[in-house]
């Protein structure tokens, strides 16, 4: 049985004398360092990567519902031509915030949640490299997201589109504070992304279990690594752009003003140099998830692991050279347009490699159609549609017809919903028993999947037709006279899309019902319900606080699978034989448990430093005094953080009862 060490003796006072009990208030004057491992404090001040991963996921799902309601309002407005449900001003805010929320407050944090929870488990580590920085990142994301959404109640949300083109988003043309909230809020969530990325890069490169070379690393961890490098280089670009935007709006700077000799296209370049790698930041984690799910439910290794790894890295590299394909109509001139057309076509190759490898992973397998597997297969099909419509955009002359129409909306929803979101849902169903120790209902799961598939194809499928037949995006109304003739006119397809969006929403509701149902009555999950292949399944479900009783030694890709199965030669050729069960492997772990496991202690300071940022941001918008107050909290918090040891002092714990050694059993 592993043991987390806690102080076993009462520290002696200086000058000798009889040992006295130290009162808890001694460490920070009035405050005591948080050390509880249960209760709400253990969540609020936690630095545990698993708790933080869950908090990322929970908060992101909340924002997913917010963004979903925004989407439903948009689709309701567009159900019929010349509809008057929403005002133009509100509609512009809704589509701006729908995109901002789904990208920055849902897909990015929920995939960060997956990475946070699973990467240390997949690489056989006990936590991330910088646990407090990890907590800080989460709070920055949460506070930044809440700050951004308070704009709804403080004079209106941003209304310039998520791309916030200049000069339409400067103070003259967007006079509410919405864009200020947007630029400041995203700077705060950007800090979360950047610290999270550095943390995970260091974790993955330095903390892998012995024997796990890079090419024996689980594919999800690989894709996470690529994404973190993309973040490290992309987030600074958008941060610079947001900073310039903030200075232009709040302090009268002139970075994008033609009248002052600047150029509004500078904003577009900065935005899309971030914006395109961002697309891969959103999609690659899901590629990683399905690359884990497909082999498990096909009972075969990932086909062409190396090709999948290198194509992921190649997408990461080429992704930097395609940004101007968002600007084919901006007037860049034929040479730039031709170059970016070709580079955009190039990126289709590594993406195609992934589709081919997933398909070949299933080829010759023994497929089990669990909900996770259905979502993974759904991703292959839906993402292929989005990928192919993407190839049609790379043909820049044709893109000048389709850009800023519903065809583009169809394209990126097939990529982001059919791709990223399907991958995320595959991950939910696949890892739920690992994380919560309970199985999500497969029956409700099937309802969830099929409603989402039908809903998304009814919602986004018709948008191909709408766009190709000339309906532009970002229009609060479309006139009857542009909808064409016949039964299948654009009015009809808009109505279909709106009905589809409600079916889609019902599918997501099924997931929420499933979660509640599982929490109340869910069946206890077996230790290894899917016959999985990677290390996170080696520990208990839910995993122990310190993940592994003993750090595993890795010998192969799919290490966990090879611990369970061995190839035995028979007359009919080699056969796979199960040599150990999951329970036996866990028992082995527990039998050989490490004696001394030191886990980092909780801390107030990540949260306090993070909460200073929105205070400063409110101050920049409303009152300089508030900004100074926020700055003071920030400085104080950073100072206290830097003086705080990573492991709590003995004096922070409750004194042992009756002088007995205080040791806490670590097994759950």
């Amino acid at each position: 049985m592993a043991i987390i060490e806690r102080p076993s003796t009462v520290p002696a006072l200086a000058g000798g004398g009889a040992p006295q009990f130290v009162t808890p208030s001694s460490s920070y004057g009035v405050f005591r360092r948080p050390v509880s491992s249960t209760g709400w404090r253990s969540w609020l001040f936690t630095v545990d990567h698993k708790k933080l991963g869950l908090m990322y996921g929970g908060a992101a799902m909340f924002f997913f519902l917010v963004g979903g309601v925004e989407a439903l309002l948009i689709r309701t407005q567009l159900a019929a031509p010349d509809n008057t449900l929403l005002s133009a001003s509100l509609y512009n805010q809704l589509f701006t915030m729908h995109a901002t929320t789904m990208i920055f407050l849902f897909v990015m944090p929920v995939t960060t949640g997956f990475a946070n929870y699973l990467v240390p488990l997949q690489i056989g580590a006990r936590d991330v490299a910088f646990p407090r920085l990890n907590a800080f990142g989460f709070w920055c994301f949460l506070f930044g997201g809440i700050f951004l959404n308070t704009s709804w109640f403080l004079g209106g949300a941003a209304d310039g589109g998520w791309f916030m083109y200049q000069p339409n988003a400067n103070a003259l043309f967007s006079p509410s504070h919405g864009v200020d909230f947007w630029s400041l809020g995203l700077q705060i969530t950007g800090i979360a992304s950047l610290t999270g990325a550095l943390n995970l890069i260091v974790t993955i490169l330095n903390m892998r279990a012995p024997g796990m070379t890079l090419m024996k690393m689980p594919i999800f961890t690989w894709m996470v690594l690529v994404v973190q490098f993309l973040l490290v280089f992309a987030i600074p670009v958008i941060t610079v752009a947001l900073f310039l935007l903030m200075f232009q709006r709040v302090f009268g700077a002139q970075f994008f003003n033609v009248d002052a000799g600047a150029d509004p296209l500078l904003w577009q370049h900065l935005f899309w140099i971030f914006g395109h790698p961002e697309v891969y930041i959103l999609i690659l984690p899901s590629f990683g998830i399905v690359s884990e799910v497909l082999p498990v439910f096909s009972r075969k290794p990932l086909f062409g692991y190396k090709f999948v790894v290198f194509s992921g890295a190649a997408i990461g590299f080429i992704g930097w050279g395609v940004w101007a394909h968002h600007m084919f109509a901006s007037g860049l001139g034929p040479v730039s347009v031709a170059v970016f057309s070709v580079s955009t076509m190039l990126i289709a190759i590594p993406t195609g490699v992934k589709i081919v490898n997933w398909t070949l992973t299933m080829w010759g397998g023994k497929l089990r159609f669990t909900t996770a597997m259905l979502f993974a297969i759904g991703l292959i099909v839906e993402f292929t549609i989005g990928g192919l419509s993407g190839v049609t955009h790379s043909v820049s002359p044709s893109d000048t017809q389709q850009t800023d129409t519903y065809y583009i909306v169809a394209h990126f929803h097939y990529v982001l919903f059919g791709g990223a979101v399907f991958g995320i849902f595959a991950g939910f169903y696949y890892w739920w028993p690992k994380v919560f120790g309970k199985m999500l209902s497969e029956t409700l799961g099937k309802w969830n999947f099929w409603l989402m598939v039908i809903g998304m194809n009814l919602t986004f499928g018709p948008m191909h037709i709408l766009g190709l037949q000339g309906q532009p995006r970002r229009m609060v109304v479309y006139p009857e006279k542009l909808t064409g003739e016949g039964f299948f006119n654009l009015h009809f397809w808009n109505t279909v899309a709106s009905v589809g969006s409600y079916i889609l929403a019902t599918g997501i509701l099924m997931f929420l019902i499933n979660v509640l149902h599982t929490a109340r009555k869910g069946a206890k999950a077996p230790l290894d319900p899917w016959d999985a292949r990677s290390l996170e399944w080696l520990t208990a479900s839910p995993p122990k606080a310190h993940n592994f009783d003993v750090i595993p030694h890795v010998h192969a890709l799919d290490e966990y699978f090879h611990l369970k199965y061995e190839e035995v030669d028979t007359d009919a050729g080699p056969r796979l034989v199960k040599v150990k069960t999951a329970e036996e492997l866990l028992a082995e772990q527990e039998a050989n448990a490490d004696e001394h496991i030191h886990m980092p202690s909780p801390s107030y300071w990540p949260m306090i430093v993070a909460i200073a940022l929105p205070i400063i941001a409110y101050g920049i918008i409303f009152s300089k005094v508030l900004a100074v107050a926020g700055g003071a909290i920030l400085l104080l918090g950073m100072f206290a953080w830097s003086l705080e040891p990573s492991v709590a002092d003995d004096s922070d714990y409750d004194p042992p009862q009756g002088g007995a050694p205080s040791k806490e059993l670590a097994s759950v």
Partner: protein
């Protein structure tokens, strides 16, 4: 498992997976289920450059469709063929590099096949050396202005600059070069049947070539998000045979005469005091004390009142068929339909008649003059004017009386 059993279970499988079947049927319905005669359909080119784009995009869409069918077919096959039927644990193969290299090279070859015509089309679309006519196009919140500089445009002499808005009138089968810019935020000029989009960026002039094969009206819309009334910033291109175009040019260059009708005459007065600060009418003169025209023209100065520094020139308003960013019709439904359905040979004569009193759609114009920002959201209330640095964005509510509105409409009805 015998062959029959397998077939039966396959049938059962397909039944169980009826969602997939449904999806395929849905896809087929979608392909066959497009709107007819959608005015902004991108697959119905009516000019040389739009046709170049269409010739390129059609095969690309077909290739994409074929690739999707292959992937979908593969996935469906695998899902049926390799589902868990209690078979042996499969062989743990890690991949076949030769197969993967081949499957990487095939898409690369397809993309080379797409890439070469793409690049050559990009350059052929950018060609402007054989231009026969130049029109300056300026976007602003939320309408388009066209200026025809002095030139010979497709054989028609334009002796003085023409300024108009909403409808881009161009001679058919003439290579027209648009020089596009903006007075405020970024807009995008798009007439799908004539060419792809080109952004209107302040401080830059972007070229875009257009040709119309036949006389007719080609719908278009601003496609770069440009703020509050982005959805109500539209435009039409109007193709006219060269002879008709010459007639149009001659008419545009005539100065507005003094009205003869008493109502319109009072309307001219009201226009002079209420509208002419922003809206230019060429030929409108200051009045002498006795009500006769002086020799001093009324010059509008919208730069003092609106952020974009511009307002539509109304000299020939009733030669156009729409107003307020081409969003509302000046023609009633019947006349509008007659004009849009007219054969190419009859179109010119009908269009050049302009808005006659029996074709006039008075209701929308009346609402607009009564309270423009209520009809089309703009930043033109007094409170918003303060936020805009003391200028309106768009047309304010002028609080005109019913009499004044009647008079102005009578006056405007003669602007042709």
């Amino acid at each position: 498992m015998s062959g029959v059993e397998q077939r039966v279970s396959t049938v059962r499988f397909v039944k169980q997976r009826s969602g997939i079947v449904l999806a395929i049927v849905a896809a087929a319905v979608m392909l066959g289920g497009c709107a007819r005669n959608a005015p902004q359909d991108t697959f119905q080119p009516a000019g040389e450059n739009a046709r170049r784009i269409n010739n390129l995009q059609l095969p690309v869409f077909i290739i994409a469709g074929v690739v999707f069918a292959i992937v979908l077919g593969m996935v469906l096959f695998i899902v049926v063929r390799y589902r868990d039927r209690g078979q042996e644990m499969p062989k743990q193969t890690h991949g076949k590099p030769a197969l993967e290299i081949v499957l990487t090279i095939i898409p690369a070859i397809i993309l080379i096949g797409v890439g070469i015509p793409t690049v050559s089309t990009v350059f052929s679309l950018a060609k402007t050396s054989d231009t026969q006519c130049v029109i300056n196009v300026t976007g602003q919140q939320w309408w388009w202005e066209y200026e025809y500089p002095v030139q010979t445009c497709g054989g028609v002499n334009i002796a003085e600059p023409i300024v108009t808005s909403g409808e881009l009138v161009l001679p058919t089968k003439v290579h027209v070069l648009l020089r596009i810019t903006s007075n405020d935020v970024i807009h995008s000029y798009w007439i799908p049947k004539l060419n792809g989009k080109r952004d209107a960026v302040p401080g830059r002039i972007h070229p875009l070539r257009m040709e119309a094969d036949q006389p007719g009206i080609y719908a278009g819309q601003c496609t770069e998000f440009c703020g509050l009334s982005h959805a109500r910033m539209r435009m039409d291109a109007v193709g006219l045979y060269t002879a008709d175009f010459a007639t149009w040019v001659a008419n545009q260059l005539q100065l507005a005469p003094k009205p003869t009708d008493a109502m319109a005459l009072r309307g001219e007065d009201t226009f002079r005091t209420q509208c002419s600060r922003c809206h230019q009418v060429n030929g409108l003169m200051e009045e002498n004390a006795d009500g006769t025209n002086s020799d001093k023209p009324v010059i509008s100065f919208p730069d003092l009142y609106v952020v974009a520094g511009n307002a539509p020139n109304l000299t020939n308003l009733m030669t156009r068929t729409t107003f307020a960013g081409a969003t509302w019709d000046l023609l009633n439904d019947q006349c509008r339909k007659a004009l849009h359905d007219a054969s190419p040979d009859k179109f010119g004569a009908l269009y050049l008649k302009g808005v006659t009193p029996d074709c006039f759609n008075e209701a929308d114009l009346r609402e607009w003059i009564r309270n423009a920002p209520a009809k089309k959201p703009m930043y033109s209330s007094e409170a918003q004017k303060a936020q805009n640095g003391g200028k309106y964005r768009g047309m304010p509510n002028l609080n005109l009386t019913d009499n004044q509105i009647d008079e102005i409409i009578a006056y405007l009805l003669e602007r042709k």
